[in-house]
């Protein structure tokens, strides 16, 4: 299913510098609404992301930016709207329990859009390498030998090969988050979702995680990053969206949104941050 079923389009979407010519958006969020009880957290958010783009979403806490990411892979059920990742389309249906076929579609979306969490959420009972190979082996059914090769490759990618046989409890916060990134990468997703990946980190450990993320952005990974790190958004993002009170109020290249914001609310937010 394509955009023909949905009247909405993201007015700000445009292919990034690394996007292959003629590529269609790989992620489409159309008219996403979310209520928590009577609290209207997302008020019709529309977002399209092209392959190889790095899109950053900024905004104050409580603005709905994390909820948006969690609606994208259905960790939260949106109240209205639809999600499409890599041509798999699922519309919000908060009133009915999901059928088996719907759950399978949602699972496919999650496979395509791997999430990196603020709190890492590594599996503490599994070694680092097992954390990384768990998904490929148990979900994708990749044989152990190949999964281990895959795991070692991505652990090397985040610079943690020497920690492969440790338990996560022995790692620093920055190392844990890098393992979490390797775990997501090992699923070879179409899109990486980062939900405030450095917010739970000691300031001295933020750098090592951002370095890995910038690397990934420059190598042409499709990424959606919810963050408070303006330097990352400025240096690595193709587009920046500023969300306020559940709506995008400004979007564009970082040199506009961060360096030269047009909207008063964006200006206030950035002024408080810098």
């Amino acid at each position: 299913m394509t955009a023909s079923t949905a009247p909405l389009r993201d007015p700000f979407a445009k292919p990034g510098v690394l996007t292959p010519l003629g590529a269609e958006p790989i992620v489409r969020l159309l008219g996403i609404e979310k209520y928590f009880g009577s609290n209207h957290v997302l008020r019709g958010v529309t977002l399209e992301v092209y392959p190889a783009e790095n899109v950053c979403i900024i905004g104050r806490s409580g603005s709905g930016k994390s909820t948006l990411l969690r609606c994208l892979n259905f960790l939260e059920e949106p109240t209205a709207g639809s999600v499409e990742v890599d041509n798999i389309h699922v519309a919000a249906d908060p009133l009915h329990p999901r059928s088996r076929s719907h759950r399978e579609l949602i699972r496919q979306i999650r496979l395509g859009a791997q999430m990196v969490f603020q709190e890492f959420n590594l599996f503490p009972h599994l070694k680092v390498i097992e954390n990384v190979t768990e998904g490929p082996m148990r979900v994708k059914g990749i044989p152990k030998k190949e999964a281990l090769e895959l795991g070692d490759r991505y652990l090397a990618r985040v610079g943690l090969s020497e920690k492969r046989d440790e338990y996560p409890g022995r790692l620093s916060g920055g190392q844990r988050q890098r393992v979490a990134i390797a775990r997501a990468l090992a699923m070879e997703p179409k899109v990486l979702l980062f939900d405030e990946p450095t917010s739970a980190l000691d300031p001295t450990l933020v750098g090592e995680v951002l370095l890995v993320m910038e690397d990934l952005a420059h190598e042409g990974r499709t990424m959606i990053v919810v963050t408070h790190e303006m330097s990352f958004a400025r240096d690595a993002a193709d587009r920046v969206y500023f969300i306020d009170d559940g709506q995008f109020v400004e979007a564009g290249p970082p040199e506009q949104v961060i360096e030269n914001p047009q909207d008063e609310r964006t200006r206030q937010f950035l002024a408080r941050l810098l």
Partner: protein, 282 residues
């Protein structure tokens, strides 16, 4: 010793500190271990005096027969393996019931939740002794005949399973939401998440509680003597009433249970310490 001690007290310490700044650390550690050793010695001595004193007092009445204890003690002691066997198999069975019960209690399917809740409610709402005798003596009316050992173990397992259901449920619910979300994000299905992510962590959480249940089980296993399993209490009460020496035999049984529970408590404490040190937790 107060900090404002006399000069003669302070001088050597200060000197020590100046010469070897690290020496004071060793001095403190030695003082601590001396205090701890003294505490344990007094503890042991107090127990020894009280228990020994009680034993001497009882024996000195002349109404207790040490010869009888020497004669029949080994027979009662020989039942320890039966008591332990019943306890271990019952706790294993209870663990299976508890796991199924806990999954049922966490199910969002109404009939499954209802059945699991019924199980817990029914078992916790009736006396264990009634359940044991019911399974052994009432079920045969429906043609279900179990031998005493089977009946006793099933009854204990069924009963403890209900109590442990709530322990397992709490253990599963103690796993942070983020663990499930991370597994869901990897594309894992619910059953796989439960088996690979939630249960392995929940089991580590509930092991100390299962240890407690096991210790309680050792004592409650005495109740299966009512269906004729010749374990420690059965032998003690039967020998006691046959020879009108109930005091001696029950004393032996009590000491056996006491020593067993102390032993397993010690093992359990060690296990807990080891688990607390484990790095398999964040």
């Amino acid at each position: 010793m107060s900090w404002g001690g006399t000069a003669s007290h302070q001088a050597p310490l200060d000197e020590l500190r100046l010469q070897q700044p690290g020496a004071i650390v060793g001095e403190i550690a030695r003082a601590r271990s001396r205090a701890s050793l003294r505490f344990r010695l007094i503890f042991a001595l107090t127990w020894f005096v009280f228990v020994g004193g009680l034993a001497v007092a009882i024996l000195s009445t002349g109404r207790v027969h040490p010869d009888f204890i020497g004669e029949w003690g080994p027979f009662i002691l020989a039942a320890i393996p039966i008591t332990i066997f019943v306890s271990i198999t019952s706790i294993a069975l209870a663990t299976v019931f508890a796991l199924i019960g806990a999954l049922g209690r966490l199910s969002t399917a109404a009939p499954i939740f209802a059945l699991a809740t019924l199980y817990v409610s029914l078992v916790r709402g009736t006396p264990l002794i009634v359940q044991i005798i019911f399974i052994y003596l009432a079920l045969p009316q429906f043609g279900i005949v179990l031998d005493p050992l089977q009946g006793g173990i099933i009854a204990l397992g069924f009963n403890y399973g209900a109590y442990m259901t709530e322990i397992f449920r709490a253990g599963i619910q103690a796993i942070p939401r983020g663990q499930v979300e991370a597994a869901q994000s990897l594309g894992m299905q619910d059953s796989l998440i439960m088996r690979r992510i939630v249960l392995p962590q929940a089991v580590r959480i509930v092991i100390p509680a299962i240890g407690n249940e096991f210790i309680a089980m050792i004592k409650d296993s005495a109740l299966v003597s009512y269906v004729g399993i010749q374990e420690v209490f059965w032998r003690a009460s039967n020998i006691g009433s046959r020879f009108f020496k109930t005091f001696e035999t029950l004393m032996i049984a009590a000491v056996i249970y006491w020593v067993m529970t102390i032993g397993f408590s010690f093992v359990q404490e060690r296990l807990e310490q080891r688990m607390a040190r484990s790095d398999r937790r964040i």
